[in-house]
């Protein structure tokens, strides 16, 4: 069997309580069929770096948006991002929120405010049935 090209992830690391400034760290994750970005991050934490923080307490199926992050500069849900062999991605925390650690942000007010605000944030996530 031909060994598929691994995924290369360049991930922003930052612990505001400890680090003076964010740095980037590179990780190599073996590719397999059906690999999603959230699963790749889990692979890193379990096999390469136990200190990597990302929001894993999430729905894992596209609903809750807890795993929103910047992927090559674009805001995406990590649980819906399919990875392809040899892909190289830059992963950063989602813009517009204070960073708690690495890829974890404080959604804070947006999570605990009016319906309008979170609907705006979720955008296309909540659609009317049949539309």
């Amino acid at each position: 069997m031909v060994r598929e090209q691994p995924i290369l992830l360049k991930i922003l690391r930052y612990d505001p309580g400890v680090d003076r400034a964010p740095t980037y760290q590179r990780y190599e994750v073996p590719w397999k069929e059906g690999l999603l970005l959230l699963a790749a991050l889990k692979y890193i934490r379990e096999n390469l770096d136990e200190t990597l923080a990302f929001r894993d307490y999430c729905c894992q199926c596209g609903w809750c948006t807890s795993c929103m992050m910047m992927v090559n500069g674009k805001g995406l849900r990590a649980c819906l991002k399919v990875l392809y062999p040899g892909e190289q991605l830059m992963i950063e925390p989602v813009k517009g929120f204070p960073v708690i650690k690495d890829l974890v942000v404080d959604f804070g007010v947006t999570l605990t405010t009016s319906e309008g605000t979170f609907r705006k944030m979720e955008g296309a996530l909540i659609r009317k049935v049949g539309s």
Binding site: G17, G34, Y57, C64, S66, L111, A124, G130
Partner: protein, 569 residues
């Protein structure tokens, strides 16, 4: 840090959020703290639910029929007072949730009602309310109450007690690693299930921690609560191939017209079949050597009478009630090489933990045997008996969530707040910081061992020798592995630390489950004993676990029967 609450709700999934709303609404002067391990309203299992939700809306249906279906499918092990409450209050709770913004799949002007064969109901009763919109509606409603204080990124580590009363909890602020004490007059436990104790689980399909690690059962046990039917796990199919989730095999088959076939292509089972039997029959097929190389069986969609377009529509509903287009797009992206679902042979294996029927013993006011301590949702037992009918989890959590909130608020209005003992909290802090050490093993390694032993001995089929071996392994993990767990010394978002907090709880839960399974010498619903394959009239009772003088005691308790007796009685 000390937080003073009137009502403390632990867990902000469907049951917890609903409890907080009800408590806040019924008692505007009370301070309701809603604690959650992730962002409030954006995490946990409710958001993952694929939407089947039962309440009576079909003109021929009735709460009595709903009651009878739940008890019959629950193999008569349900507490019937609880089932009656659920069947009667479900329509009002559901309509209210839709008013709050939950989306329900419609068929023109009426509800779209799923094929009753999927659940075994006597009438079409399954509405599709995807968990994402269900939870979004509750989140919006939580926001409306100024007296609800949502605290995301907190994990409860212990319950505080005084004599026979729960007086609060200790917690860890995941964001900064700070220890927190919450003093409360009333406490509602709504921490969800325990699927993570098994290798395969729909509760955390990627093996991520914390979604259903069963900590709530352990907290309740340690505080002195009674737990019933801890052997009653509902399993579903673990999808082996294709490697992207397509939904529950029972749903797939009934909605898409697929057939259950073995590796030889023989149809070994037809719907309707209760969930426990679907598992048992697949297990027997594989055991008899008619399974696939990966150790599974198939759902063959190629024999379906549906057109490709019709099947894609049904698959979308099976995945998440049609509204989650994103998930469907994901499936399409991943299956680009073989896009026609009629060509799919879905390979699956039994033994994927899906739901837990047992849990903290409650009455219809959600009260436990401890004063000021209430439980609702999956962490509570007795509603679903030995087997949950499909579509009744989303129903259970809002009905009993609302009740727990109402009665907790009622209790808190007249109760005093009891101050905690500083020594207890200091011990707890020392226990938690004890995980920081230079050398040791990862919490994940112990967690994986627990999951392996549970899947090996506590899966679809159980027998005495295996269960005794499981108890011995649990004991050995407790003595040799637990003290060696080490985590990195970090304060912010230290995930291994949270995992380390969960592991001792998982061991308590595993021991309760195996002990209960060993004591129930019969087969009923989700509990199949190969050495005791029959259902025994004499076992129409709950197993009951309780801590006595720091020892786990396993006994029995009567089932509450109000009107429906097993056939032959």
């Amino acid at each position: 840090m000390l937080i003073k609450a009137d009502v403390l709700v632990i867990g902000a999934g469907g049951a917890g959020a609903r409890a907080a709303i009800e408590a806040a609404k019924n008692a505007p002067d009370l301070h309701v703290v809603l604690l959650n391990q992730g962002p409030v309203g954006r995490s946990g299992l409710t958001t993952m639910a694929n939407g089947g939700m039962q309440w009576v809306s079909h003109p021929d249906d009735s709460p009595d029929a709903h009651f009878r279906d739940v008890v019959r499918i629950g193999c008569y092990l349900n507490d019937q007072n609880l089932v009656q409450v659920m069947a009667e209050e479900a329509p009002a709770r559901a309509e209210e949730l839709i008013r709050w913004g939950a989306k329900v799949l419609m068929d023109g002007d009426t509800y779209f009602l799923g094929d009753p064969r999927g659940s075994g109901a006597s009438f079409p009763r399954s509405h599709y309310v995807p968990g994402g919109t269900y939870m979004a509606a509750l989140r919006v409603e939580v926001e409306r109450y100024a007296n609800v204080d949502p605290r995301g990124d907190f994990v409860a580590t212990n319950l505080l007690t005084f004599e026979k009363r729960v007086i609060g909890a200790t917690a860890l602020n995941i964001r900064n690693g700070e220890s927190v004490v919450i003093e409360s007059k009333a406490t509602v436990l709504a921490t969800g299930g325990l699927g993570e104790l098994f290798i395969h689980t729909t509760n955390a399909p990627w093996g991520l921690h914390g979604h259903a690690s069963g900590t709530g059962y352990a907290l309740a046990y340690q505080a002195g609560a009674e737990l019933i039917d801890m052997e009653m796990v509902q399993f579903t199919g673990a999808q082996l191939y294709p490697p992207w989730e397509l939904g529950n095999p029972a749903l797939l088959s009934s909605m898409c017209g697929g057939k259950y076939v073995n590796a030889l292509g023989q149809e070994y089972m037809k719907l309707p079949t209760p969930r426990d039997m679907i598992q048992k029959l697949a297990y027997e097929e594989i055991k008899a050597g008619r399974g696939t190389e990966r150790g599974g069986v198939y759902i063959d969609l190629s024999v379906s009478p549906l057109s490709r377009e019709e099947m894609e529509k049904q698959l979308q509903i099976a995945l998440s009630g049609e509204v989650a287009r994103d998930r469907w797009n994901l499936v399409k992206e991943m299956s680009a090489n073989n896009p026609d679902p009629r060509n799919w042979k879905v390979e699956w294996a039994p033994g994927c933990a899906h739901f837990f029927m047992g849990g903290v013993r409650i009455n219809e006011r959600c009260e436990t045997c401890l004063e000021g301590f209430f439980a609702a949702g999956e962490v509570a037992g007795g509603v679903h008996g030995a087997n949950r009918m499909g579509g009744n989890a989303l129903t259970d959590i809002i009905v009993f969530g609302a009740r727990a909130g109402r009665y907790a608020a009622e209790f808190a209005q007249t109760a005093d707040r009891i101050e905690h003992e500083t020594a207890t909290v200091k011990n707890e802090q020392e226990r938690l910081s004890g995980f920081f050490k230079p050398q040791g093993i990862t919490p994940k390694s112990v967690r994986d061992k627990i999951r392996t032993l549970m899947s090996n001995y506590m899966g679809v089929a159980r027998e005495e020798v295996g269960l005794k071996r499981a108890l011995a392994e649990i004991d050995s993990l407790r003595r040799s592995d637990l003290p060696s767990i080490r985590v990195p010394h970090l304060s912010r978002f230290n995930v291994p630390w949270i995992e380390a907090i969960e592991v001792p709880c998982m061991l308590d839960v595993a021991e309760m489950m195996v002990g209960s399974a060993l004591s129930r010498t019969e087969s009923r619903g989700g509990h199949y004993r190969e050495d005791y394959p029959n259902t025994e009239r004499s076992w129409l009772k709950h197993t009951l676990v309780k801590k006595k003088d720091d020892t786990m005691v396993i006994g029995t308790a009567p089932v509450v029967i109000t009107k429906l007796y097993p056939p032959g009685d």
